[in-house]
Structure formats: structure tokens, C-alpha cells
């Protein structure tokens, strides 16, 4: 049963993808419908994941000692549910929103492929298997950006897609080198049996994951990729693919790291630089999607900071913040995409007073922004609060003063985060309804903010799970914190 359960989690999206691709050749609509149905079934199938821990372990490539080893525990289960849910939301979103360039069913199929890879990566505990699933999502995502991305800027989207691909592959290639060194030292690819590794290995794995997460200064692929990707692509990228990095840090990096080494403080420092840097970059952004993208750099900085504290609370914080970021940033990107659909642009200089033009959509965006800036009572708060807490009281072997300073800077980053979201809301949602700027052609400018159709029920359907969960997780943090603590028993030195 366990065997079938986990295998099916990986295989079902893959099979759905193939089916959708086949059906989609005949009828796009039927293909997307099938994708919705499939992702709904997979989501349903994934719900029992919270009930018990499960594992599968079989030899896969004997000569390399690679095992088909999947493990579902308190760390992977929340991320698994996030994956199936967000994919479902994206598929629903696709029902209403047909990309300009067509190929909706193919897009749906690619999303299912990505889901397959992401689920596999969240379940794998064999290092090579993780690496493999890690890579599975790349090519489909690259296609998603390259083919369905910003239709106004073919060169830019190709550049963004390629940069995404190259950066990620470079990172994961370094990561696998690190894994292989671990294997050479400890004789196994099974991370649950690894308790130490050489510094080189830890650094290489860390760099690889840092690219994916992304950590400053290797975040540079992210703004472009997010900004140019289609809406569902941005959602998947931010909500799921970035989590591969943070999950990797938790599952595959922490066991390799010696807290007495200098690695943790260095990564913590980079994370904090990322927090401040991302926030500052957001303050000066003029494009909504780029802004949200940079906000991810900051949020992921909190996650990594939490992980580098080398404490169970840190890991709890990291998982929490990861899931919360998945929900909230997914919502932000959905809203940004909806705005772009309606007005054809995400340029903050061209849009304003959306409270008046599309009040519900604007309200959702405001809600998501509030959640993202870490308002207590919403999901975004607990992860970042606990991250600061874990850094303030980091592991004993870590330099205490350094981490205190880092946690204070990170907390100031929270203020900067609030600042840029408020600035964004001020320019985008508020403002005089009249035309902005005198030089701009008045009729064109006023068209920009004309009242458009507010949220469609399908959009509500796609977004409401994220909305509801954002509140639920904000009110009941225990839902996520408890299982992680159980799973972390005995992992840290």
C-alpha cells in the first residue's frame, strides 16, 4: 500500500501529462478539463499524506547504489500538499484564461510534468533521486517561459528562460558533485544515513541549492524568469520550484553541515543580505511582477536564515515560511496576472486607482500584499517571526553575536518589506482616478484605469484555496509546526 501510494503520487501527474497532451491534440478544452480533473484527483490522493509517515525503498541503479527511496514525513507532507493544491489552482486558472499564443492543453500538460518532478523531489531522500527529480521540472518550465511567456518581448523571454535554465542546471550540477563527494565519504546516497560531510561537499551542495532558492547573489535569474513567465508559470515557479531549494536545504544540506564550521554564518549572512537587498530592489521596481519576484528573494532569505540557525525551530520556521510563501506569492502572481490580462501591462507607472476600477481584484491584491509583508494573523507572519527567533537563539556552536545582529537586520528587512508593499499599493491601487502625468496622452491614460470586469467566478475558484489557507495558517500555526518537529527528531547534531 505504502509503495503504491507514493509511487502513484509521482506517476499520476506524469501519466496525466501524457494523457492531456494526447487529448489536447484533438481538443484544447478537453485537455484542460482533463488536467483539472487529474490534478483534482491527485490533490485528493495527496490529502491522506498528513495521516502517517510512509516510505518506499528499492534499489534502482545497482552500480551507482542509487535507490528509489521516497519518504513522506512531516517535512515533505506540507510541501506535497502545497504542490498538489497550487497545481490544481493553476489548472483551474487555465480553464478561463487561454494564452494568446494558444497551446493551452500543452501548457496544462507541462504543468503536470512539473508537478510530477516537484512531488518526486519533495519525496526523495536518495540524493541522486532528488537531483533527478529536481531536474525534471526544468525543461518543462523552460518551455513554459519560452513559449508562453511575455508575448510582447520574445527576445526577453528567451533570455529569461535560458538564464533560468542555465543557472539552475549549473547549480544542480554543482550540487550533484557535492552529493557525490558525500557518497565517496560516507558510502551511501541515502541522506537519512549521512551524518557528516566534508566542507567542500557542503559548500557545493549549498551553492547548488542557493541558486534554486535563490540566495543573493545568485538570484539574478529569478526576476527575469518571473517577470516574463505566463501567470501560471510564475505561480508554479514561485510557489513550488523555489521550494525545491529550501526543501533541499532542510533535507539535504543540514545533515551535511557541521555547525562549528563557518558555512552556516556565511549562508546566514547571504540570506540577510538577500532580505535587505530584495526589499530595496522592490522599492525601486516599476513592474508589478518583477516586484513580486524580488520580494521572493527577501522571503527566501528568511527561510535560509532560519535554516542556518541549525535549530528545530529554524526548520519549522523554514517549512512554515516556505508553505506560506507558496500560498501568498501564488496569490500575488495570480492577481498580478489578472491585472495584466485586463490592462495589458504590469507597469506601475501606467496603472493606478485599481481600488476603483476593479475593487475585488484590488482587494485580493491588497490582502495578499498584507499577508506577504508578514501581517500577524496571516500565514506570512509565523514563518518570518520564527525565523527571526531561531536566528536570535541559534545553535550553541554558532557565533551568537553574529546571529543576533543578523536577526535584527532581518527584522528591519521586515519594515522595508512593508514599505515597498505599501508603496506598491499606493501607486497601483490608490490614486486619483483621473489620468496620470501630463505628458501622456490623456485618452490613453484614462483607458488604462477604466473599469474592467472584476473577478470571474473561475478566478475566485482558483484563488480561494490560497486565500482561505493564508488565513487558516495564520490563525493556527500549530497545523504545520507540529509535524515538522516530529520529523526533525534526531536530524540535527
Amino acid at each position: 500500500m505504502n509503495h503504491a501510494y507514493l509511487d502513484a503520487l509521482v506517476a499520476a501527474p506524469f501519466a496525466t501529462a501524457l494523457l492531456v497532451m494526447l487529448v489536447g491534440r484533438r481538443s484544447e478544452g478537453a485537455g484542460v478539463g482533463l488536467a483539472v480533473l487529474g490534478s483534482l484527483v491527485i490533490f485528493g490522493w495527496s490529502i491522506p499524506a498528513v495521516l502517517e509517515d510512509r516510505a518506499v525503498d528499492a534499489v534502482w541503479i545497482e552500480s551507482l547504489d542509487v535507490h528509489w527511496h521516497l519518504l513522506l514525513d512531516g517535512i515533505s507532507a506540507p510541501l506535497l500538499l502545497l504542490t498538489t493544491l497550487v497545481t490544481l489552482c493553476c489548472q483551474i486558472a487555465l480553464v478561463r484564461h487561454a494564452p494568446d499564443c494558444g497551446g493551452r492543453a500543452s501548457l496544462a500538460a507541462l504543468l503536470m510534468l512539473i508537478e510530477s518532478g516537484v512531488i518526486g523531489a519533495f519525496l526523495a531522500v536518495d540524493m541522486v533521486l532528488f537531483f533527478l527529480f529536481f531536474e525534471v521540472a526544468l525543461i518543462p518550465m523552460w518551455f513554459v517561459i519560452n513559449a508562453w511567456g511575455d508575448q510582447h518581448d520574445p527576445i526577453g523571454r528567451r533570455r529569461a528562460a535560458t538564464r533560468f535554465l542555465v543557472f539552475t542546471v549549473l547549480g544542480s550540477a554543482l550540487m550533484i558533485v557535492g552529493f557525490l563527494i558525500v557518497k565517496a565519504d560516507s558510502g551511501t546516497f541515502d541522506i537519512t544515513q549521512v551524518s557528516s560531510a566534508s566542507t567542500v561537499a557542503a559548500v557545493l551542495v549549498g551553492i547548488g541549492l542557493a541558486v534554486k532558492t535563490p540566495l543573493w547573489p545568485v538570484h539574478i535569474w529569478l526576476p527575469d524568469a518571473h517577470a516574463k513567465a505566463p501567470t501560471v508559470g510564475s505561480v508554479i515557479l514561485a510557489a513550488l520550484l523555489l521550494k525545491l531549494g529550501t526543501y533541499g536545504f532542510i533535507r539535504f544540506w543540514l545533515p551535511l553541515v557541521d555547525p562549528a564550521d563557518d558555512i552556516l554564518p556565511v549562508f546566514a549572512g547571504l540570506a540577510v543580505v538577500g532580505i535587505v537587498y530584495g526589499a530595496l530592489a522592490c522599492l525601486a521596481q516599476t513592474d508589478l511582477k518583477r516586484l513580486i519576484a524580488y520580494s521572493s528573494v527577501g522571503h527566501m532569505g528568511f527561510v535560509v536564515l532560519a535554516i542556518t540557525s541549525y535549530t528545530t525551530i529554524g526548520v519549522q520556521a523554514a517549512v512554515y515560511a516556505s508553505v506560506a510563501h507558496g500560498l501568498i506569492t501564488g496569490l500575488l502572481f495570480f492577481a498580478a496576472g489578472a491585472i495584466k490580462d485586463r490592462y495589458g501591462t504590469g507597469d506601475l507607472a501606467e496603472l493606478k486607482a485599481l481600488y476603483g476600477a476593479v475593487p475585488r481584484l484590488a482587494g485580493v491584491l491588497a490582502f495578499a500584499a498584507m499577508a506577504s509583508l508578514g501581517l500577524p494573523g496571516l500565514a506570512g507572519f509565523w514563518g518570518e517571526m520564527l525565523a527571526i527567533r531561531s536566528a536570535l537563539f541559534a545553535h550553541d556552536a554558532l557565533p551568537h553575536d553574529t546571529f543576533v545582529v543578523l536577526s535584527v537586520i532581518a527584522a528591519l528587512g521586515v519594515i522595508l518589506t512593508s514599505a515597498y508593499f505599501l508603496v506598491m499599493m499606493r501607486t497601483l491601487l490608490q490614486g486619483e482616478p483621473g489620468p496620470r502625468g501630463s505628458s501622456r496622452d490623456a485618452s490613453e491614460a484614462s483607458q488604462r484605469v477604466e473599469t474592467k470586469a472584476d473577478l470571474h467566478w473561475l478566478e475566485w475558484a482558483a484563488w480561494s484555496p490560497l486565500l482561505v489557507l493564508t488565513v487558516v495558517l495564520g490563525v493556527a500555526p500549530g497545523l504545520l509546526l507540529d509535524p515538522v518537529a516530529t520529523a526533525m527528531t534526531g536530524v540535527l547534531r
Binding site: S63, I139, F143, V169, I176, K183
Partner: protein, 497 residues
């Protein structure tokens, strides 16, 4: 010294290829010019049959090692055998025979222009393949050298066989000149090795090399490294790679496929034989050199492939880069023995590379029937217009790049990195960076395949059966190995027992 007893079963496969070559030549000579397409394909079918038959015979030997043409030396030292069929040999025979079969199939397209005589072309192909088989079984420098020449000489002719083709002629001449020069350098190396050890048999060379010292050691090392040169030329390692793009582009696509797989495999088998059996005591000397060659090779191959718009030239540079990856394990050897994981990694990678690269070339050959210019833009809409070929090429490119869903390519890279990580971590890191660079051009091509063509009909092809078979075989093999990568890798690692 008594006349040798010859183990005939062991020599059957090369012998069968040689006989098949003769049969092809004779049939062609007596049958007269072909009148139909079927008749024109007859030599290819014969060659294909010969290869299959040789393969069947070879498969009989998987579980029992055979050695023949041995020298019995009454006095001292190990017994030298010139011809050994063990798993190492058989894995290479597999690669060579598979490659030859596919190239024979592709030849039907390449020769369809009527300017290339199919009988002679297939004869030369089989002759060259015979040399490759002997090469894999050889265990002394003399046989190795002769076999290497048997691989090369027919290949020169194959490259230039298209009558009146300026580019083919130029390609053949360049290939020839670089090849013979490299061979001369290699021979100088062999002569020095012989001078330092007094033998040409691998095991005897190994035995005496481990005892030489002083200035004679310098001679031995110089000989060793110069010997590698000729083989490095064959595998197209930098800096002996420069003929590769010119020759691949100038020669028919089928010949390029042959050079990039079978001929390259022959180079690698020679290299592996020499390094593993003859020179293991000099690992400290050759391993760093191989490591540098590997790093240079993959880097040069990849950065030069970045800008290419010509599909075959891109594949040429890609094959240079891939050769770099295959060399990596040998750049990470330490101690006085080449471990089985080193050998297994290189062989495994080579085998996988052979399959997917042949897949890519098969589709390139097909596209070449309509677009001899072989520009990347000619591949637009291939997935939609010709799904079989399109998906096969897409899969092959993804495998060459080393990404899922082409697990086979990814696992191959992991296996190679596995050997390097630790003993030569810097090399592993260089390779990791190169994998990322390589991705750029594979991805570029890949995207073209999925971009809709301006004219839907432009991407429809009249696919000959032979090419369909070649594409199907390589694609199927790649798919199967993607699901069960262990089938290839486990066996590759087992070659040293």
C-alpha cells in the same frame, strides 16, 4: 615457438565483418548498376545483416573470456596475447556493431544522391568496422596500431566518396592529413615505449614500466604521452580536435555519424586499453594530462558550439564536448591501477552517448534529405510535422544535455561525476559548469523543434524505412535505458570483473 592455435570463435565477429565486406563488394561488382531504390539499398541491407550476424556470434561470448594469438615465452615475464575477447571487448563490440548498423541504415539516405557508389561505401564501412572490432580485442601495440589504421583508412575514403563534391574532398584531405600526422606522432611515442620496455605487449610493458627509473623513465613517460596523442586525435580531444567540425560538415551526414560514434569509440577503446593495461603504473603522469585535456576538450567544445547555426557543425562541437566528459574519469585516477568504476564510468557514458548521438544524427540525416544546408531553422516545427523524428531528436538532445526526462543522459553524467568528485573535484566542477554551458545550445535547438513552422508542409518528410528503423532503434534504446539505466551501467562497470 610453435604455430599458434587459433580460437576461431573469438575471431569470428571481425572475420564475419570482413567477409561481409567482401560479399558486398563482389555482389555490387557483379550485379551492375542499381535500377531501383530497393536494389540501391541491397548493399546496405547486406551490411546490416552482416553486422547483426556478427553481433549474434559475439553475444555468445559474454560469459566466457577468450584469448588467442598468444606468445609463449619460455623464459620470463607474463604471457602476451594479441587478441582477447572479454567483457570489455564485448561492450565495445556492442557499441561498434550498433553504430555500424545504424550508419549502414543512414547510408541509404546519404547515398541517395547517386553520386556515391553504395557498394564500395558499404564495403569501406564494414572494413573500418572490422578494424574497430580488432582494435577492441587487441592487447599489443602492433595489433592496436594496425587495427587503428584499418579503422581510419576506409573512413578517409568514406568521407570523400561523393564524386565531384568540393567539400567532401576538402573534408577527406583534412581528415587524412591530421590523422596521419597524429599517427606519426603516436608511432614515435610507441617506438619510445618500446625502447624503454623492450616489448609491445600491454602486460609486459606494464611489468617493465613499473621498474624503470631515471632518464629512461623520462623516455617512457614521453612515449606514453605521445602514444596518447594519436588516440586523442581519434576521440577528438583538444588540441587534436580541429579537423572535426570541418570534416563532419564536409562529409555526408552518415559519415559524420560514423566518425562521431564508431571511430570515436575506437579511439576511446584504444585509449582505455593503453591506459588501463599498458600504463597503469604511470597514472601519476598521464592522469593529470588527461584531466587537463578533458577540461579543455569539454570547454572548447561547448563554447564553440554556443554560436553554431549549422546543425551538423553544432553536433560536431557537441561531440567534442562529450568526448571531454568521457575522458573525465581517466583524469581522476590515482594509485597504480585503473579502477573498474573509472573504466565503467567512461564506457557507460560512451555507450549512452553512442546511442543518443546516433539518434540525433539519424534525424539530422533525415532532415538533410530536404534541407542539405542543415541550418537550425530547417528544423522548425519538426515535432508537429514529423512527430516521430521530432520527439526522437528532442529526446536525444535532452539526453546529450543530461536532463530528465532523458534520465539516461543525466545518469551518465552522474556516473562520470561520481568518479571525479573527490579525487579531482576541480575537474568535476569544471564539468558541472560545462554541463550548464552545453545546455544553452541544446536548448536552443530543442526550442526550434517545438516552434511552429511557417509552412506546415515544410516539416513533413518522406521517411525511408531504413531511416525510420534507425531513428526508432536509437529512440527506443534511449527510452529503455532511461527507465532502466542500470542495464547499461551495471554491465559497463562489470567489464573488469
Amino acid at each position: 615457438m610453435k604455430p599458434q592455435d587459433i580460437d576461431w570463435l573469438a575471431v569470428y565477429p571481425p572475420l564475419m565483418l570482413a567477409v561481409a565486406a567482401l560479399v558486398v563488394l563482389l555482389v555490387d561488382a557483379f550485379a551492375g548498376p542499381a535500377r531501383t531504390r530497393r536494389e540501391a539499398h541491397a548493399p546496405a541491407i547486406l551490411a546490416f545483416a552482416g553486422v547483426i550476424a556478427a553481433g549474434v556470434v559475439a553475444a555468445q561470448m559474454w560469459d566466457n573470456e577468450r584469448a588467442t594469438f598468444c606468445i609463449e615465452r619460455a623464459l620470463e615475464g607474463p604471457t602476451g596475447c594479441s587478441f582477447v575477447v572479454d567483457r570489455f571487448t564485448l561492450v565495445f563490440w556492442g557499441i561498434v556493431l550498433f553504430g555500424t548498423a545504424v550508419v549502414a541504415l543512414l547510408g541509404t539516405v546519404a547515398l541517395a544522391d547517386g553520386r556515391t557508389p553504395p557498394g564500395e561505401w558499404n564495403f569501406l564501412l564494414l572494413s573500418s568496422a572490422t578494424g574497430a572490432l580488432v582494435l577492441a580485442a587487441s592487447r599489443d601495440l602492433v595489433t592496436l596500431l594496425v587495427a587503428l589504421e584499418v579503422v581510419s583508412l576506409p573512413a578517409f575514403a568514406m568521407a570523400g566518396l561523393r564524386h565531384g563534391d568540393r567539400k567532401a574532398a576538402e573534408a577527406a584531405l583534412k581528415f587524412f592529413l591530421v590523422s596521419v600526422t597524429s599517427t606519426a606522432v603516436m608511432l614515435m611515442g610507441i617506438s619510445l615505449v618500446y625502447g624503454a620496455t623492450g616489448s609491445v605487449f600491454f602486460d609486459q610493458i606494464n611489468a617493465s614500466l613499473s621498474t624503470v627509473s631515471g632518464d629512461l623513465r623520462t623516455v617512457a613517460v614521453a612515449g606514453t604521452l605521445l602514444t596518447i596523442v594519436g588516440l586523442a586525435f581519434k576521440v577528438a580531444a583538444v588540441p587534436f580536435h580541429m579537423w572535426v567540425p570541418d570534416t563532419y560538415v564536409g562529409a555526408p551526414v552518415a559519415v559524420a555519424a560514423y566518425l562521431s560514434v564508431v571511430s570515436k569509440a575506437a579511439g576511446f577503446v584504444g585509449l582505455m586499453l593503453v591506459l588501463t593495461y599498458a600504463l597503469p603504473s604511470f597514472t601519476e603522469q598521464w592522469s593529470p594530462v588527461v584531466a587537463v585535456l578533458a577540461a579543455l576538450t569539454m570547454t572548447v567544445g561547448n563554447v564553440l558550439a554556443l554560436r553554431q547555426t549549422h546543425a551538423v557543425r553544432l553536433l560536431a562541437w557537441s561531440s567534442v564536448a562529450q568526448a571531454g566528459y568521457i575522458l573525465v574519469p581517466f583524469g581522476a585516477v590515482s594509485g597504480s591501477e585503473v579502477g573498474k568504476e573509472v573504466l565503467g564510468a567512461s564506457i557507460g557514458y560512451l555507450a549512452i552517448y553512442a546511442v543518443v548521438n546516433l539518434g540525433a544524427f539519424s534525424v539530422a540525416a533525415l532532415v538533410g534529405t530536404r534541407h542539405p544546408t542543415q541550418q537550425l531553422d530547417d528544423y522548425r516545427g519538426l515535432v508537429r510535422g514529423e512527430p516521430g523524428a521530432g520527439w526522437a531528436l528532442a529526446f536525444a538532445l535532452v539526453a546529450l544535455a543530461g536532463l530528465p526526462p532523458a534520465v539516461v543522459g543525466l545518469v551518465a553524467k552522474v556516473v562520470v561525476l561520481d568518479v571525479a568528485a573527490g579525487p579531482a573535484t576541480w575537474l568535476a566542477v569544471v564539468m558541472a559548469v560545462n554541463v550548464a554551458i552545453g545546455l544553452v545550445y541544446y536548448a536552443r535547438w530543442l526550442f526550434v523543434l517545438f516552434t511552429p513552422a511557417d509552412d506546415e508542409h515544410a516539416s513533413r518528410y518522406d521517411v525511408p524505412n531504413a531511416v525510420a528503423l534507425a531513428i526508432g532503434a536509437t529512440f527506443t534504446a534511449a527510452l529503455i535505458f532511461s527507465v532502466f539505466p542500470g542495464w547499461i551501467l551495471d554491465n559497463a562497470v562489470s567489464v573488469l570483473g
